[in-house]
């Protein structure tokens, strides 16, 4: 009996830079091998989702107005934090069912993907901006600007890498996000919240919910202050519903049928608007 009793972590939600319990008071038991309890996972409610949207809206002016350099440094900082806690994340993935070697590989890939997107923040605008040679005495240029609040549905797997592949392009582009974790890997998402929290990411830029997609989908897809939805690895039926409800306020959609984990500036572009500015030119 000389073994010390470990202190277990309570996994909560991540909203507005804080870790509240779900207002609904509900939880789902996540069971590991031999049916042992790993953790009680918060079952976020409609109200939690709405609170997260309020937090994301509040964070949008600051995050979208931050310099691209700063956004890049914060994403890079998150990669640094993750690197330092790689073992913890690998263990956690393992506890949720990912074999140890694959879990270690996945954490490494997740860190590298964050670094990749950290480097995009101040480059994709150069790639997707234009100076437009109009046939009049005007200076005319078009630049990408973030769409606003994006609801992100993480892929079912892989737990950590998939979650990062889903949120990184959204926030690298200056949007704020409300992300729903994979039902099979909720712990990795909530632990990542700790990493984001430690990386000077302003509260509300990424909000993370754990819960039941079927329950939250009607709310997530009809919320009038959500400007876009990124869904990864979801069913055709879910896609149809998302498209149909998008018409309520012309939400932008990025529906990735299979899990595509590569870094890609066009994933950033999916939640960018093009702004064109005109100004007369003359010497008077």
């Amino acid at each position: 009996m000389n073994e010390r009793l470990p202190v277990l972590k309570t996994y909560k939600l991540f909203i507005g830079g804080k870790f509240p319990r779900t207002e609904s008071g509900r939880a789902r038991a996540l069971k590991g091998k031999a049916g042992r309890l790993i953790a009680n996972v918060s079952l976020a409610s409609r109200k939690d989702f709405r609170n997260a949207v309020v937090a994301a809206r509040a964070a949008f002016p600051g995050w979208s107005g931050a310099t691209a350099y700063l956004r890049g440094q914060i994403l890079y900082r998150a990669a640094e934090m993750l690197e330092g806690r790689a073992a913890q994340f690998a263990d956690e993935l393992n506890a949720q069912g990912t074999p140890p070697a694959r879990a270690r590989r996945e954490v490494a890939d997740a860190i590298d993907l964050l670094v990749h997107y950290a480097g995009w923040t101040d480059k994709f605008p150069a790639l997707f901006s234009t100076v437009n040679p109009v046939a009049s005495a005007h200076f005319n240029f078009s630049v990408p600007e973030p769409t606003g609040i994006v609801a992100v549905i993480a892929p079912p797997a892989p737990g950590l890498l998939g979650f990062i592949a889903a949120i990184a392009p959204v926030i690298a582009g200056g949007n704020t996000a409300v992300a729903l974790a994979s039902p099979d890997f909720p712990l990795s998402a909530i632990s990542l919240a700790e990493v984001l929290h430690d990386s000077d990411l302003p509260g509300g830029v990424v909000n993370i919910l754990t819960g039941d997609l079927a329950e939250l989908l009607p709310h997530l897809s009809t919320h009038m202050d959500v400007n876009g939805i990124a869904a990864h690895g979801q069913s055709d039926e879910t896609h149809r519903l998302l498209r149909e409800n998008a018409a309520l306020n012309i939400k932008r959609l990025a529906l990735h049928p299979a899990t595509n984990l590569s870094g890609d500036p066009y994933k950033i572009l999916a939640f960018q608007e093009t702004k064109t500015t005109w100004h007369p030119t003359h010497l008077r």
Binding site: T130, N140, G148, I250
Partner: protein
């Protein structure tokens, strides 16, 4: 605008009762553009598979000159069977068109641009007759810009591989395109030119009240020897458009029109996930800071709201004026409004033409009445309006509140609402307080404030110290509920291409 002739007797007050020159006080003589150069047939058929064919059910509808209420022509009303035929023709034409050497595809578009330039005068007259817009606008803006769009996208056809770094491109297939009545030919060019340059084939539905220039464009398409079926044109009403977007064999929908219809289309496409671009409504804020060049700003305001009778999705319909200059701006604006000539669209003196249709006139009246009921102060030009036809006097509202319908809803007519602000932050908050986000305007002499304000506006096109400028090289489209995707420029190619890794 009126000739800028220097005259010592520049103090003559504008007379509200007739068409007097603002500076000289002399009457304008009418200067109508001749109609004889433009031929309008008594009847127009659909353009399907390179041939003009009647609707299968034989139905036709009249298109009316809104300035006189005279019937100009009868055009075929396409039904579901005609939609089937047109989509089949476009499908049949797609393989050869998409595999055609890109430079050759481009040359067809260059041809179209040239043919349109050659017949510009005829097109301008018909555009003004069918839609009611002043000949000065159709002659100087609509038709030349339409030709410029074909010329611009013609050049892209063989350069698509350079447009999207890291991606390979492929055309989508058959594009269904539905356009509005405010810029009939220009919208047709905005839709057709990029679609064809990217290797798609199209079925275009012009607006019910303005079908003629699209049908004249069909003549040019035939003259240009475009392969049959590459462009098909179906005239009809909303039910034709509905059948078109719901057709199972289309690969893309491009729609310009109201936000309400845009949402219905987006919903209709949900099951199949058909790609779509939507250019929808707007309620643009036009912000005048107290350091703005006042007289230029007044001209900008006039152009912003009275251009094309205010039938402009990006019209500067919500004027926000900084308190210090509000009195001056409103006084000058009222005075300028009295000098605007409302009348015969074919008269080269005309500033404001006819309202496009009786239905639109009724909608404008209904919204203006609501503004009065809700407590805003109405000021209208005292210029006389013609007895026949659909007309609405230039109108401004002061004493407005953010909650009023005239401030929130798109009026799509020559109606401006004016409110004031104290600080730049307040201006931006008010400007962005709308579900729309198509365009915006800013007038100020401070460079930093120009970029600060244009950046803060959540809108797709922002004009600084100018307004309502358009160019094929310049992307156009909205944020939020003003739409999805861009038309014009390099960005206007993406909606017509698969971007493959």
């Amino acid at each position: 605008m009126a000739a800028k002739k220097k005259n010592k007797k520049a103090t003559v007050a504008p007379s509200p009762a007739d068409n007097r020159d603002f500076r000289t006080g002399e009457l304008y003589a009418p200067a109508p553009e001749a109609r004889d150069h433009a031929t309008i047939e008594a009847r127009y058929d659909l353009f399907i598979g390179g041939k003009f064919v009647p609707a299968e059910n034989g139905k036709v509808f009249a298109t009316v000159n809104p300035a006189t209420e005279e019937t100009l022509s009868e055009v075929a009303a396409a039904g579901a069977a005609d939609v089937d035929r047109a989509v089949a023709a476009a499908r049949k034409a797609f393989p050869a068109w998409s595999r055609l050497k890109a430079a050759e595809r481009g040359k067809y578009l260059f041809r179209l641009a040239r043919l349109l330039q050659e017949r510009a005068r005829e097109f301008a007259v018909i555009e003004s007759l069918d839609g009611g817009k002043p000949i000065r606008e159709s002659r100087d803006i609509d038709i030349p810009l339409a030709a410029a769009h074909f010329f611009y996208y013609a050049g892209w056809a063989d350069k698509l591989a350079y447009a999207f770094p890291g991606r390979n491109v492929a055309p989508l297939g058959v594009a269904a395109q539905i356009i509005p009545w405010n810029f009939p030919l220009l919208m047709a060019a905005w839709k057709i030119a990029p679609a064809l340059a990217c290797g798609n084939t199209v079925v275009l539905k012009p607006a019910e009240t303005t079908p003629l220039t699209a049908l004249k464009l069909a003549e040019l398409i035939a003259d240009a020897d475009l392969p049959p079926g590459v462009v098909n044109i179906l005239t009809g009403n909303g039910s034709t458009g509905d059948a078109l977007v719901r057709h199972p064999d289309i690969d893309k929908v491009a729609f310009t029109g109201s936000t309400a219809v845009g949402k219905r289309i987006q919903k209709a496409l949900a099951a199949r996930g058909t790609p779509h671009t939507l250019e929808l409504g707007g309620k643009a804020a036009h912000i005048i800071f107290d350091d703005a060049p006042i007289d230029q700003a007044v001209e900008g305001i006039v152009n912003g709201i009275f251009f094309n009778q205010g039938h402009v999705c990006c019209a500067g319909s919500r004027l926000l004026v900084q308190e210090g200059v509000a009195g001056t701006i409103i006084r000058k604006l009222k005075r300028r409004m009295e000098t605007l000539i409302v009348g015969d669209p074919l008269d080269k003196n005309t500033d404001i033409g006819a309202i496009n249709s009786r239905a639109q006139l009724e909608r404008i009246r209904e919204l203006v009445d609501s503004g009065v009921r809700e407590g805003a102060s109405l000021h209208q030009s005292a210029q006389p309006l013609p007895a026949k036809g659909y007309w609405f006097a230039p109108t401004i509202f002061t004493d407005t509140a953010q909650s009023q319908r005239i401030v929130q809803e798109e009026i799509f007519g020559p109606v401006l609402t004016i409110s004031t602000f104290r600080t730049p932050d307040e201006a931006v908050d008010k400007a962005n307080n709308t579900p729309y986000g198509l365009s915006g305007g800013v007038w100020t002499d401070k460079g930093a404030r120009i970029f600060g304000a244009t950046r803060a506006l959540r809108a797709g096109v922002v004009w600084a110290n100018t307004f309502n400028r358009f160019d094929p090289a310049s992307p156009f489209g909205g944020y939020k509920e003003s739409g999805l995707g861009r038309e014009g420029g390099l960005q206007g190619l993406a909606p017509y291409l698969h971007l493959l890794p």
